[in-house]
């Protein structure tokens, strides 16, 4: 590999921001997933959009792949290069260009994280909707462009159409603004247009169609009153059924469910790791430090006291008559509980402070990182299911686990109703110690087989990371064919993150 490429890159981003140091390359060659380790050839950290444009143009000239990277926190190999190339770390593109308090918008660059943004928003009484599963170090923009479901997903508006416009750096180096054309006054209207809903085409694309450099995201207000209610359930089907009934009444803002594993992991104490948890660096590119024996015992003890599933509903009031709203919603929720034969609780498992933990988590998540420490790495099956099918899919996953002698009690479970529970976003996790080759191999095989079973029984991996790409695209008729044709048109040199999805 010629040094002149490094020189050219350094000329664009500055010497300190371009590297071919093996230690640096190693850092980006893997994450905690089973995706094969592959080094990029270069790592660059541009500071402006213009620099990114030049890098992309250069890559086209050199026919070198470009791998966009922001926080690397998808934990599923999305940011790991497939065949090398220039890894473009966007963390320096971290400007919060403006916060529009009146119209609940912020214009942010790709490197802006939740940890950076949320404290700024709080000055205006606002919040950003975040996925519970994302650490504070995650890029907001990337989560949104990759359709990582946010904790407010039960709400049709506040949980699903999360941004207004974004700038897409195309493989040719051109910038293309997606959405209603911006005006002098605002670039924050709606994501539609120009002509088509381009915005959907580039979502979930893992950087294969270009690089999103900035985005006008939609915000919502911080709660002025909030009550967290816990509802125990014996089975995932019962939990789903209750969730559906709550959501059909459009009660609460956030609503989700954990099985006993995930809820226990959420609250277990991991002293000494608080700083990492807060910064979002608890899970490194080789996973997390495994818990100590003491932590495991504490975890088991907590888990033993928890119901199999716990539904968590956050009743939320904003500026107007917040307490009145909570009061009527709680009464309505009680009616639902009576109809469904379940109970409303202020906590579960006698955990003190659980309500406050949830209140913190829904605003700035971070505690779901802890589950990675159970064995060091966590491999989640993340799929969408119709509500009726969730129980069947869980059973099928458990069957596959048993086949691999994987204890079902060690499978994490998280349910998130989307759009008033028209679908349920599910995450079922397997855990393993990556340093244990036999265990890793087994879990890897289990993970793949369980993924196939899920799809064949009606679960939908809408973000085809890792092994899901082949599983999904081999079953999706002409979809992959037309994706490839589109890719071929806009990226004829196939420089944008090749090897991902079906490319």
């Amino acid at each position: 590999m010629s040094d002149s490429i490094l020189e050219e890159l350094a000329a664009i981003v500055g010497k300190d921001n371009a590297s071919d140091d093996p230690l640096v390359l190693d850092k980006y060659s893997r994450d905690q997933s089973f995706v094969p380790q592959t080094r990029p050839n270069y790592v660059v950290t541009p500071g402006t959009v213009a620099e990114v444009q030049e890098i992309v143009r250069l890559a086209n000239k050199l026919l070198m792949p470009v791998v966009p990277y922001s926080s690397g926190t998808d934990f599923h190999g999305g940011a790991v290069p497939s065949i090398g190339g220039i890894l473009v770390n966007l963390q320096r593109l971290n400007k919060i260009t403006y916060i529009d308090e009146r119209n609940w918008h912020a214009l942010i660059e790709a490197g802006v994280t939740y940890a950076q943004l949320q404290p700024e928003l709080e000055k205006y009484g606002l919040r950003v909707a975040a996925p519970l599963t994302s650490p504070p170090s995650a890029s907001v923009l990337v989560d949104y462009i990759e359709r990582n479901p946010v904790v407010t997903a039960p709400d049709f508006v506040f949980g699903n159409e999360l941004f207004s416009t974004y700038d897409m750096l195309m493989p040719t180096g051109e910038l293309f603004t997606i959405g209603h054309p911006p005006t002098q006054k605002s670039r924050a209207m709606a994501p539609d247009g120009p002509a088509f809903d381009f915005y959907r085409l580039y979502m979930g694309s893992q950087g294969t169609f270009g690089i999103v450099t900035q985005m006008a995201i939609r915000l919502l207000p911080l709660p002025t009153a909030q009550k967290v209610i816990f509802i125990p359930a014996e089975t995932v089907s019962q939990a789903t059924h209750i969730i559906q009934r709550i959501e059909r009444k459009e009660l609460g803002l956030e609503c989700f469910a954990f099985n006993s594993f995930d809820l226990a992991a959420l609250v277990v104490d991991i002293p000494g790791e608080d700083d990492k948890l807060k910064k979002g660096t608890y899970v490194g590119n080789r996973g997390a430090n495994p818990w100590t024996e003491e932590q495991v015992m504490q975890f088991e003890s907590i888990r033993g006291n928890l119901p199999p599933w716990t539904i968590i509903v956050c009743l939320t009031g904003w500026a107007r008559r917040a307490d009145e709203k909570l009061a009527y919603q709680e009464l309505d929720l009680k009616d639902v509980a009576v109809e469904s034969g379940c109970e409303l609780k202020n906590t579960v498992g006698a955990i003190t402070g659980l309500s406050n933990i949830i209140k913190e988590e829904v605003i700035l998540p971070g505690r779901m990182q802890k589950r990675f420490g159970y064995k060091g790495s966590c491999h989640g099956l993340m799929f969408h299911s119709s509500p009726d099918t969730v129980g069947l899919l869980e059973a099928a996953i458990y069957d596959v686990a048993c086949k691999y002698n994987y204890p079902t009690s060690d499978i994490g479970g998280y349910l998130l109703p989307i759009e008033r529970a028209r679908t349920i976003y599910c995450e079922f996790d397997f855990h393993c110690n990556l340093d244990d080759a036999a265990e890793s191999q087994a879990v890897k095989a289990l993970y793949k087989e369980a993924s196939e079973v899920v799809v064949d029984m009606g679960g939908f991996f809408d973000r085809p990371y890792g092994p899901w790409a082949e599983i999904m695209y081999s079953r999706s008729g002409t979809y992959a064919e037309y994706l490839k044709k589109l890719k071929n048109k806009s990226d004829p040199n196939n420089i944008m993150n090749p090897g991902k999805l079906c490319f």
Binding site: M189, D197, L201, L486
Partner: protein, 510 residues
């Protein structure tokens, strides 16, 4: 003219009863209520009359027809009810087939578990509402187009309605699509791509191709043969029947309010506060002109009341729904009353009787397009922005009024929507005109071109909502550098022979 062997090939696909090249039949697909169609008929333009009308009954028949068309260089325009404001379904060149989808009118499934309905393209708003409401669900409203209009074609072109406050514009309601491409390939989107998964999830896998066929695609790349639409909880119970003429009852568990304001700014503030408070399912800013045109029982009464300013010049209407309980209705009413008091509004309960048609039209539009008693209707300006941009939009629209001899129907104030809990607003100024009066129609058309084509060159908050040429070219520099280039690229992938509705969006060089 269609060659006999091509005619026979298509007849073999759909059957001899469902194909016609008779001039009388073809004539009835050559006009709608929009300017391009109207003006072409004044010119008696033969290229706006299709050469063939074909009615397929199934996906397979659609495939058969488009393959033949593609092969022989014919053009295809899919049409359901064909009512739109820019003559999207009127041919623009000879050798066009009007693909009338009327026979594909089935509601294939209503899934109460996933709150979705899977439909064929000719299913109307009215039919889906009739079937879903009885199951405690609904599609979220009707875009003030008659309920007989096609749901899918409206939504896919971003139909909007007052309940876009809560449920977003029509585009947000699409889950999956099944499309027939001009080469006959079937393309599905979302979870429909995988047969085992069914139609419940709306995105992916990975990049979501559905976006290409949404918004202003204009049937320009494929024929949609099936769509899964999202539904929402319906609190209204059994749809109440109209027992007093023109006075439909309000559905159960809903309350409607009319509030008068002295001027634009306090009205905006109220709309802002209502939207941002999270209450309500419907919210609209309306004016005397619009209200008289839509709600009054006769044209005579509408004209009289319009000219005498019977209804408030600045008015909003709000509908709250008790989705969880009556307690919700009570709470939301309290919030509304607080806002109205703070913003200096005045409740006009006395107007409830006069505007009773809203009880029906807000949910299932029956009479809403009554303003067409005066003739046809066209937008002359559409703008997107924040509610605070209302005054600016109004003044720019007034500039257009001053430059033209024709009146603007809602000259007092635009029709104002506020979408998706207040994230943005849409302002709409329209005119109505007598299609039979060429001078009047031409003048109205000039206003339309002024509003949509000439003025967006300035950096305003205007919107080329239909994104047709030349608007797409105008916007290209603004969205930089070349939106038209990307649109053309995509068209080249799906429809390289420019078979589907050519000339409406981009034209491919052949």
């Amino acid at each position: 003219m269609i060659e006999p062997h091509v005619y026979q090939a298509i007849a073999a696909v759909v059957g001899p009863d469902f194909i016609s090249d008779d001039p009388m039949v073809r004539q009835t697909y050559s006009k709608d209520g929009a300017f391009p169609g109207i003006m072409k008929r004044y010119k008696q333009d033969p290229s706006a009359i299709p050469d063939l009308v074909v009615l397929p009954a199934s996906t397979e028949e659609v495939q058969g027809v488009v393959r033949i068309a593609n092969r022989y260089g014919l053009k295809v325009i899919p049409i359901s009810t064909g009512a739109n404001m820019v003559s999207l379904c009127i041919p623009s060149e000879p050798g066009t087939i009007s693909l009338d989808l009327k026979r594909m009118d089935k509601i294939l499934e209503i899934n109460e578990d996933t709150m979705t309905a899977t439909i064929q393209p000719y299913v109307s708003f009215a039919r889906i509402q009739a079937e879903t409401m009885k199951r405690g669900l609904w599609n979220g409203g009707t875009p003030l187009a008659p309920g007989s209009c096609g749901l899918l074609s409206n939504i896919i072109n971003s139909g909007t309605w007052q309940s876009s406050l809560a449920y977003g514009v029509g585009l947000r309601s699409i889950a999956n699509l099944t499309l027939v491409l001009p080469n006959g390939d079937i393309l599905k989107t979302g979870s429909a791509t995988i047969p085992a998964c069914g139609n419940f999830w709306c995105q992916g896998p990975g990049p979501d191709l559905k976006g290409i066929f949404e918004f202003c695609n204009h049937g320009g790349m494929a024929v949609i043969v099936e769509a899964t639409m999202k539904l929402h909880p319906w609190a209204g119970g059994e749809w109440p029947q109209e027992t007093v003429y023109n006075r439909p009852p309000l559905p159960a568990n809903h309350r409607i309010y009319y509030v008068e304001y002295p001027d634009i700014e306090p009205m905006n503030e109220a709309m802002y506060e209502i939207a941002h408070s999270g209450i309500g399912t419907h919210l609209n800013g309306a004016s005397n002109g619009w209200v008289t045109g839509m709600t009054q029982q006769t044209e005579e009464l509408a004209e009289k009341r319009w000219h005498e300013g019977f209804f408030p010049r600045h008015m909003i209407y709000v509908i709250n729904a008790g989705i969880s309980s009556t307690r919700q209705l009570d709470h939301e009413e309290n919030v509304l009353r607080d806002i109205v008091k703070e913003t200096g509004g005045k409740f006009r309960d006395d107007l409830n009787e006069e505007m009773a048609t809203w009880h029906g039209d807000a949910f299932r539009d029956g009479c809403g397009s009554r303003f067409q008693r005066r003739g046809s209707f066209s937008s002359i300006k559409l703008g997107c922005g924040h509610i605070d941009n209302h005054r600016e939009f109004y003044e720019r629209s007034q500039d257009i009024v001053m430059r033209h001899s024709h009146y603007m129907f809602d000259e007092e104030t635009p029709w104002v929507y506020i979408f998706e809990r207040g994230y943005y607003a849409l302002f709409e100024d329209d005119t109505v005109f007598d299609q039979s009066d060429y001078e009047e129609a031409s003048s109205a058309r000039d206003m339309n071109i002024d509003g949509f084509v000439r003025t967006p060159k300035q950096d305003l908050l205007d919107l080329g909502y239909y994104y047709m040429e030349p608007v797409l070219t105008i916007y290209s520099p603004r969205v930089g550098p070349n939106a038209k280039h990307w649109v053309t690229q995509i068209k080249n992938v799906f429809d390289p022979n420019d078979t589907m509705n050519p000339g409406k969006l981009v034209r491919l060089e052949q």
